[in-house]
Structure formats: structure tokens, C-alpha cells
């Protein structure tokens, strides 16, 4: 008797985020359907079963009490947990420059005093659970997503480029907008993966894939301030997509 092999079960879940990753995954579901069974994807289907998951993709930061419960549950039920998007990987907009304010102050300003909303300081998934793979991007790149899934289906940890955008920018042979146009390009400190999209259209990289490995923020801020950018603008720009406020407030800018 032959035992029928079931297709690997994937889950696609969202915490506090904009659904950008969910959309990218939805748009590319067609090409992965022959290889997986979509066990849970509340954004896209009404019947969901979050048990015995092989690969879970989770978008969004942990910023409410029920997010903590969700992420712990997903972790417990999945073999591989993949954080997708800057919110899940870095906390993104909710945690970076917004962390200048206390969560309580923000809740009171946005909702009302004594509102029942239980907002926490937004944190990446890795603050609460072990994450196997982190794929940044705001939103993620579809080719990177497909490569991650293909790799995990082979039980092989995927290679995700952690080099700066400048490498991809050089490979495309763009004129450097930081040098030639004095635009505030964050390519040197931003993780590649987008294929240097903005500089390829003569725009400055604004860091939407989050920091690259070991970003040289002092040097980046120094170079930008020498070009005449004002330090507080530089810090906001650096902080938007995931460089933590604590890191930014300790920068040592040589000028």
C-alpha cells in the first residue's frame, strides 16, 4: 500500500501591519499552489485551520495584547516561522521614530482618555518568539518570498542578501544619486533585495527594506550632514523603516 504524501501546509497570518505582505503573497499564490496547501490565510479565505503548520509567514509587529497570544500560538504550531516585512522583522514605522512617544500617550492622543485599547510598544516578532527566517521589505519583494518558500520546502535555510542596496545599485550600473545629485540616499545602510529600485529611477533610497547587516549609521549621518542635510531630518529618515530610536539617539556624527 502506498501512503499518500500530503502537501506541506502553509499559514499566512497578519498582526499589526498594513497587509502589504499579505497582498504580495496573495498575488503570487498562483505560482506556489501546486506545491503547498494553504491551511490558513484569513486575509484570503474564510476556512482556516491553524494546526500542524509546516511554514508560517507572519506579517506585522506585535503591538497589542492579542498579538502576543497570536504569535505564541503560531510559533507553537509551526515548524518554520518566517517574519515577513519590516514590521515583523524590525517593528518598522510603529516602533522606530514613533517610539519617541509613550504608547499610552499615543493611545490617548488618537483615541480617548481611558480608551479600552491595550496598545503596547510595537516590537518585532523576535522580541517574543524564536523566528527562523526574517525577510524584510516594505513590502517584501516577491522573488525573495518565492525563494524563501522554495528553500524551506527543501528544509534548507534560505539565503537572504544582507548586503547594502549599493551592491545591487552597482550591479545595475546606475549613476550614484548620493554623489552626483546630492540626494539623501540611504542605500549604504539599507538591506538589498529590491534590486536598487529607487536609485534606478534616479531617486534616493529611503530605506524601506530596513537596515542592512551592521549598518554604519555614524558614517551615513556624517556624509549626509556634510551635504547640508539637517541632523533631525536625517534621524527621521533613518528611523522610519526600522532603525531603533535608541540607536539613533546615540549617533556620533563627525562634522
Amino acid at each position: 500500500m502506498q501512503i499518500e504524501r500530503r502537501l506541506p501546509r502553509i499559514a499566512v497570518q497578519g498582526l499589526t501591519g498594513c497587509a502589504g505582505e499579505l497582498l504580495v503573497i496573495l498575488e503570487n499564490l498562483g505560482s506556489v499552489l501546486p506545491f503547498v496547501q494553504v491551511a490558513s490565510f484569513p486575509f484570503a479565505q474564510s476556512k482556516n485551520d491553524l494546526s500542524d503548520i509546516d511554514i508560517a509567514f507572519v506579517e506585522g509587529s506585535v503591538s497589542q495584547k492579542h498579538d502576543i497570544d497570536s504569535i505564541k500560538e503560531i510559533r507553537a504550531r509551526s515548524k518554520w516561522l518566517v517574519a515577513v516585512g519590516n514590521c515583523a522583522v524590525h517593528g518598522c514605522v510603529q516602533s522606530s521614530t514613533c517610539s519617541r512617544y509613550k504608547a499610552k500617550e499615543l493611545v490617548e492622543a488618537v483615541y480617548a482618555k481611558d480608551s479600552p485599547i491595550e496598545a503596547l510598544d510595537a516590537k518585532p516578532l523576535s522580541s517574543y518568539v524564536n523566528v527562523d527566517v526574517e525577510l524584510s521589505g516594505c513590502p517584501i519583494d516577491k522573488n525573495q518570498f518565492l525563494a524563501v518558500l522554495a528553500s524551506l520546502l527543501k528544509d534548507h535555510l534560505p539565503y537572504i542578501i544582507d548586503r547594502p542596496v549599493c551592491l545591487e545599485c552597482k550591479m545595475r550600473e546606475n549613476g550614484c544619486v548620493l554623489i552626483e545629485k546630492n540626494l539623501p540616499c540611504l542605500g549604504p545602510v539599507t538591506a538589498a533585495g529590491c534590486g536598487a529600485l529607487c536609485p534606478s529611477f534616479e531617486a534616493a533610497c529611503y530605506g524601506c527594506f530596513g537596515p542592512c547587516k551592521d549598518p554604519q549609521l555614524n558614517a551615513m549621518a556624517t556624509v549626509l550632514s556634510e551635504k547640508g542635510y539637517n541632523l533631525s531630518d536625517i534621524l527621521v529618515r533613518l528611523g522610519t523603516f526600522g532603525i531603533p530610536e535608541q540607536v539613533l539617539s546615540n549617533l556620533d556624527v563627525k562634522r
Binding site: A147, L153, Y159, L167, K170, E180, V189, A219
Partner: protein
């Protein structure tokens, strides 16, 4: 017919070798392209092995013949250096296949303030080309390096005439005049010694603290050959396939000298920048004695932080920052 690649303008200040179909597309004035011609032979990303699910086999790319027009002497020297690396035994068959398929047409140039190929002894068209054109304003003086190039010349005889005495004089005058135009004129034989003496110079700290670790300085270098290998799984129509890819790497990235156990030989930008300078100006104690810099000035113009100034660093290491080191280093 394969493609013809030549420098085209890609932005206000930059050029790149791109495929061209018409003479009008060519930027004859291009002094340095963003990437050197190494990209044709040792591409930024290439597949080395492929796996169809069961079997792993070498990926063998079919390379159509192609021509690269407008390669300056420093870039020819860069290719010669890469030949020594990739074509020494064991030969890199991927590089060799492309090198064999290429027809290289060199072109003379006049230096700007960042050029120091003369000091690095990479300023004259030596080997590595099929044809070399020297611009004599109303005509080109053509040097023919091999049988294939000679046959090409015969195929377009109507555009050619035998060089006259006057042409020969014109050729010599061009290269003599060019020789006197270089700003940087130091003795590169002393560079290894200078680098050894300056191993602990405060300059490294000062420059390294400004380094973005962006790695722009190494892909642009005609002699940088470092790569990483990654295994990439991918979806194909029916089953999951995988490839082993070779991708350009850079010693300026923090993972470059990381080893198992979480250790890193060069954890910070100061260590990495110093290492880069050392490899460029000292070279490795390598049996094939690879010249690691050909003086093209690409790193200088590509560094967003303005810290890749090899001639400037050489002056400082030599202890004579104010002097223009005509012909010597103390």
C-alpha cells in the same frame, strides 16, 4: 552575430558598457565606466551548478561571440590581472568561455586628475586586446595583436591604409603628450614597503570611521575578484529546482571575514578599510604576483564618503602630504 558593447552615458557624470547598435549611441568621451569590463567575463551573478531535483551538474552557458569596444589601457591591465587569477591552473571554465568569445577593441584616452595608471605601470596598451585604436583626431592608429584581429582588418580594408611615417610620428606624439599629463607620478615599487611601515598609521582610524561599508569601491575595481557562493532553491514549472550561484562579494561588508563560532577577523569598518587599502596597494604575497591596482580612479569617484583616495593616502604615508611626489617616494 553577437553583440557589440561600448561605453554609453547613463547619467550626468557616469558611463557604462552597454550593448549598442549604432555609432551614435557610443560615448567616445567616456574616461571610466561605472563597472570595468570584468563584468563580461566574471559577471556579478552567475550560475555555477544546477540541480533538477535529483542530479547536480555543472551549468554550462553557451556564449555567443561578442565585441567590447573602447577598453582603455588601465582596463586592459585589469583584465590581464584577472586572467592570471581565473586562468591559472585550475582554470575557471566559466571565465575562460567568455574570455575566448570576446573580441576586445582598445581605445586611447587622456587622463583626468584621478588617473594614476602611469604610476601603477598600467598606462600603455600591452597585451589583452585584439585591436587597439589610438585617437589621432582625424583617424585612428590601429594596432593589430593577433590573426583574428588581422582577418577582421582585412574584412574592412576600405576603411584602412598602411601607417605612413607621419602616422607613426603622430602615434608617438600622442603617447608622449599623454605621458606628461599625469598628475600622480610616484614609484609604485615602493608601495609594499610604505604599506608595511604605515600599518599602524592614525590615518586608518580617521578614514575608517567615515567608511559606510557600502562596498561601492570593490565591484568597480578592475582587479577585485572576491565572490560568495549561495545555494538558491527556486520554483520551476513542475518541481523545486536549485542553483549554486556565484555572486560578487566585497571585503568591505561585515560578513566577509566572519567565520564559524561567531568570530570575525575584521569586525569593524576601520579594519576593513585598512585591509582594502592593503590589498590594493601592497597586494597579497601571492605566487602569481597580482598587481591589485591599475590606477583607474574608479574607487575614488565611486566612494560616497570621499575616503578612497589612493594617491592622497600614498602621499600621507610617504610623509610628504604637501609634496607632489614627482617620480619618487621618500
Amino acid at each position: 552575430m553577437g553583440s557589440v558593447y561600448a561605453p554609453v552615458r547613463v547619467s550626468d557624470q557616469s558611463f557604462a558598457f552597454r550593448s549598442v547598435r549604432d555609432e551614435a549611441e557610443i560615448a567616445f568621451e567616456a574616461l571610466r565606466t561605472i563597472l570595468p569590463p570584468k563584468k563580461f567575463f566574471y559577471p556579478a551573478k552567475e550560475t555555477i551548478l544546477e540541480c533538477d531535483g535529483d542530479e547536480v551538474k555543472e551549468h554550462i552557458e553557451v556564449v555567443e561571440p561578442f565585441a567590447v569596444f573602447g577598453v582603455h589601457p588601465c582596463d586592459l591591465a585589469g583584465l590581464n590581472a584577472l586572467d592570471k587569477i581565473f586562468l591559472s591552473t585550475p582554470q575557471d571554465s566559466h571565465y575562460q568561455r567568455r574570455r575566448r568569445a570576446a573580441f576586445i577593441i582598445g581605445l586611447s584616452c587622456l587622463p583626468d586628475k584621478h588617473c594614476f595608471c602611469k604610476a601603477m605601470k598600467a598606462d600603455a596598451p600591452g597585451k589583452g586586446y585584439d585591436l587597439f585604436l589610438t585617437d589621432l583626431e582625424d583617424k585612428y592608429f590601429v594596432q593589430v595583436n593577433n590573426q583574428e584581429a588581422f582577418e577582421f582588418i582585412l574584412s574592412c580594408k576600405e576603411f584602412m591604409h598602411l601607417a605612413s611615417d607621419q602616422d607613426n610620428q603622430g602615434y608617438k606624439k600622442f603617447w608622449n603628450d599623454r605621458d606628461s599629463m599625469f598628475e600622480h607620478n610616484f614609484d609604485s615599487a615602493q608601495l609594499p614597503n610604505l604599506m608595511d611601515l604605515g600599518w599602524d598609521h592614525p590615518l586608518w582610524q580617521e578614514l575608517g570611521e567615515r567608511c559606510l561599508s557600502c562596498g561601492n569601491c570593490t565591484p568597480v575595481c578592475p582587479t577585485c575578484y572576491c565572490f560568495d557562493m549561495t545555494d538558491v532553491a527556486m520554483f520551476n514549472s513542475e518541481k523545486v529546482e536549485a542553483e549554486r550561484q556565484r555572486v560578487w562579494d566585497s571585503c568591505q561588508f561585515s560578513g566577509f571575514a566572519a567565520v564559524a563560532g561567531g568570530e570575525n577577523f575584521r569586525p569593524g569598518p576601520v579594519d576593513r578599510l585598512k585591509f582594502w587599502y592593503r590589498h590594493k596597494l601592497h597586494g597579497f604575497e601571492d605566487p602569481i604576483e597580482i598587481p591589485s591596482c591599475v590606477g583607474c580612479g574608479r574607487c575614488t569617484v565611486s566612494c560616497p564618503s570621499g575616503i578612497d583616495d589612493l594617491p592622497g593616502v600614498i602621499r600621507i604615508l610617504a610623509g610628504r602630504p604637501q609634496l607632489n611626489l614627482e617620480g619618487e617616494i621618500a
